[in-house]
Amino acid sequence: MSNIAKNIKDRLEPKKGTLAHTAFDAFFTFLFAPNKTTSDGVHIRDGMDLKRTMVHVVIALQLCYIVGTYNIGHQHFTALGLHEGFFEAIHLKLAYGLIQLIPIFIVTHVVGLGIEFFYAFKKGHSVEEGFLVTGALIPLIMPPDIPLWILGLSVAFAVILGKEAFGGTGMNVLNIALLSRAFIFFAYPTTIAGDQVWVSGFETMAPGAEVTYNWFHTGFFNGIFEAVGWSLFEPGGTIIDGFTGATPLGLAYEGGWEAVTQVYSESQMLWGAIPGSIGETSKPAVLIGAAFILITGIASWRIMISMIIGAAGMAMIMNAWGASPFMQVPWYYQFYMGSFFFAMAFMATDPVSAASTNRGKLIYGLLIGAVGMIVRVWNPAYPEGWMLSILLLNVFAPLIDHYVLESNINKRLKRA
């Protein structure tokens, strides 16, 4: 195999310093681990590199992708009043989810990787792996109906201004995936906030609104399903009476935990059969992914644990105060709603934007938990707080590290 790789490299490698060479190098090193040997320094190197680190996070996200795809379809059919059982018409729900998700995934990667390749070529270094994870995270934190041009714009904004402007992978201050979401949040708020956007396939979220299907539903997939004799997409359906598309958090803000439980059961919220961003609704899927990156040692347990403590502590304080229905929601039920676990497992633990000292990580996680809960409960404009609290603490992470390092420096100076 090593010889085949050598042949490929010898015959196909384009001239150095061209965009083609950058692209060739990226794909070649993806296919074949390079033949470089150690020089000045250690003579053997660990089998771990950045590609492997990143791909393990992507592997951890796969369950979220599967459940997320399914849930897009499940919410769609729930709104239509069809196939309301969680395991009914699995093929239709998955097919519907794929039709929504695949374009989002493609746009994210074409835009993001395109920019990444271009900058790698401009700066004359090889393409770095940062976008592997960012590109896998962005589709999961978007609503299923996100207009693709807005998505492309937000990815370009996040990658260029959030990362390349600072010097590329490893240099960014803010979490790139969250930055792209924050961009949409402030530039096009109606596409990513409120009760209207979490269920896919309708022009408006009012009862009686008619479903919109395209050729992929009625032509491509119906053709396949008809051939095997399964149920089909049925154009002309309308949203049933009483369906609002509101998320548990939206309901809780209005009427506390009782308002939530009137619409959604605890197990629905736990397993993720609720409207929300694509990949964050299913707690078991997220937690299995979290366990995977914890066991493999890729994510920091310090950040995760302290974030849970911070959020729980703040929710308890709110319980004690109890000034609004949302504040009275028992603190442990706060974890059933919203995207806390997804933010904890995959967003806060991004090693580049998080605090980098062990003690700093504990403070960082604690503050994300506390601030995120404040934003969630006390702020009428933002129904979920983790994106904003993580971005805020991203900015403060260097400051936290600074004080941790200063204490280390002072300790050493005192010895003199």
Binding site: S2, T53, T296, S356, T357, N408, L413, R415
Partner: protein, 548 residues
């Protein structure tokens, strides 16, 4: 680590107050299985908090009453920890023991299987290599001309910045060739060795009664001074300074390292004499770091050494590094200067005073996956590696390393000579190959500290290890990785960043003067971003030195 946990627990009182209220208030229908789990977690947290707090109080109490923390720890956990780690061997009872948990032993193939007799190898060619002595200028001044004959111990060259320090010949023979490298720096002074080594007679020196200044002069004149290294910077000691303390590590934890108990075997008296000389050189203490990892005690030469303070260390590599031991015995301040020596250098030093000869013998472990039969060799500093390795290596593209795989020096070509202060030669295969999807599905086993490989589930697994980098260099991304592998209170990654931007104050504050290349070598091995940490550290040390 423990004190972090205790701090979390201390932040928890509010949980204790509010949780029961709400758990009870939610009783009945709202009280789901999840809440039971949380009750259990809360109970465990409370118990943990109580235990940790009381343990801390115990420690404070112990400190007040003057209990030696190093031996007992003063903590009720030391007993609990024992349960998990197995009991301490008998010979450690009553001794000062430092237990280190951070670090990693890289399991490599090619260790010495059975302890057979040490093979004595006397090569035809020897070379004195000025680049071995860190801190001297690249073009030293020669004392002899080509064609001259020398005895072992005769001065060969000196450094112009310090002409009193003589560098002595390890063997007797004829000086045949001077070899130069880049920028005309002298790399090798090659000798054709006599069959029987003739020694220069060194005059007696009365350590008891003569002054320290005379002793220093004696050491410099007879080639002993280059045996002394100083920290900070890990360079040859400066005769104008007196060290605060002197540290000697009597064991090496690096991969496939030489067992120092063998090196000292038969030279116990010289070793003790060396320690006596060192005691004369410092007003402080001579510290001996001893191996406490095994069930049997180390050599009597170490355990019964006189006039020194002995501290046992237990733990994975780099517990045997003298830098790590200094950090746990008496950490350096930014102004301290200490000296360090390697066991075989202490023996050479002792030999000068005991036998009146400069005996530059080295016991070398010839190890690694590419060595036909790993073995112990006795030779002298500067021996020709080409001659030693001849017909001992397996076929193939080999990497010959003077030292261990982490911090050793690569040797190649027709002029390979044994470095001064070396204890092992490691030979491993080169890793010049492409690997399809090697980053995702490795085609063969490789050593790693990462749990993304199943290696950690299979204890006892040993690896051939090759020189492939297994990835390309990247910017720093992963954090907290280096700290797991260095049992010192030093933020290595931040220190490296400070070096990259030439921030002098931060380098010093973050403890650059406590480190040497070998200390960060393990972190460099594990580095996900494939950063050249040792090279960076030396650049930083050179920069700090130039600013002083």
């Amino acid at each position: 680590m423990k004190h972090y946990i205790s701090k979390i627990y201390l932040a928890l009182p509010f949980l204790l107050v509010w949780f029961p209220t709400y758990a009870i208030a939610q009783g009945g229908s709202g009280f789901s299985w999840g809440s039971y789990g949380l009750v259990a977690a809360a109970v465990i947290a409370v118990l943990g908090a109580v235990v940790v707090v009381s343990d801390n109080l115990l420690k404070v109490e112990a400190k007040r009453s003057g209990v030696d923390l190093k031996s007992s720890g003063g903590s009720s956990f030391s007993g609990i920890n024992r349960l998990f780690k197995g009991s301490l061997p008998k010979y450690l009872s009553g001794q000062a023991v430092v237990e280190l948990s951070k670090g990693y032993n890289i399991p490599l193939k090619g260790e010495i299987k059975e302890q057979k007799q040490i093979e004595e190898v006397h090569t035809k060619r020897y070379a004195l290599q000025p680049p071995n002595y860190r801190g001297i200028r690249p073009i030293p001044k020669l004392e002899i001309e080509e064609g001259a004959t020398v005895k072992a111990g005769d001065p060969v060259f000196y450094d112009k910045s310090n002409p009193d320090i003589k560098y002595a010949s390890p063997i007797s023979g004829e000086f045949v060739e001077l070899q130069r490298g880049a920028k005309r720096a002298i790399t090798n002074l090659v000798f054709l060795a006599d069959k029987e080594t003739e020694y220069r007679e060194i005059p007696n020196f009365d350590i008891e009664n003569q002054a320290r200044a005379d002793l220093k002069k004696h050491l410099m004149a007879y080639g002993c001074w280059p045996l002394l290294n100083k920290r900070p910077f890990d360079v040859i000691a400066d005769p104008s300074e007196d060290p605060k303390n002197i540290f000697i590590s009597t064991f090496d934890t690096a991969p496939l390292a030489l067992d120092m108990n063998i090196a000292v075997d038969g030279r116990e008296e010289d070793f003790q004499k060396g320690l006596d000389v060192l005691n004369k050189l410092t007003d402080g203490t001579v510290f001996l770091g001893l191996d406490g990892r095994n069930s049997t005690p180390p050599s009597k030469a170490f355990t019964d050494a006189e006039g020194v303070q002995k501290i046992y260390f237990r733990g994975p590599h780099p517990a045997g590094n003298v830098g790590v031991q200094i950090h746990h015995i008496e950490p350096l301040s930014t102004t301290d200067v200490v000296w360090t020596l390697d066991v075989q250098n202490v023996i050479t030093l002792g030999g000068v005073f005991n036998q009146n000869k400069f005996i530059a013998d080295r016991i070398i472990a010839l190890v690694g996956a590419q060595v036909e039969e790993p073995t112990l060799i006795k030779t002298k500093v500067g021996a020709s590696l080409n001659e030693i390795l001849d017909s001992r290596l397996q076929e193939g593209d080999n990497r010959i390393i003077n030292g261990n795989v982490l911090s050793g020096e690569k040797k190649e070509g027709d002029h390979m000579y044994l470095n001064a202060s070396s204890n092992q030669i490691t030979v491993i295969p080169e890793g010049d190959y492409y690997e399809p999807f090697g980053w995702l599905i490795p085609n063969k086993l490789r050593p790693t500290v990462s749990r993304t490989y199943p290696n950690f589930l299979i204890p006892g697994l040993k690896f051939k290890g090759d020189t492939n980098t297994h990835g390309e260099k990247r910017a720093f991304v992963v954090t907290g990785q280096y700290e797991k592998l260095l049992p010192m209170d030093i933020y290595v990654q931040h220190l490296m960043k400070a070096i990259m931007i030439n921030d002098f104050e931060r380098m010093e504050g973050l403890g650059i003067s406590e480190l040497s290349e070998e200390d960060v070598a393990l972190a460099e091995f594990a580095c996900t971003s494939k950063m050249p940490l040792q090279k960076l550290l030396r650049e930083g040390l050179d920069y700090v030195k130039s600013q002083m």
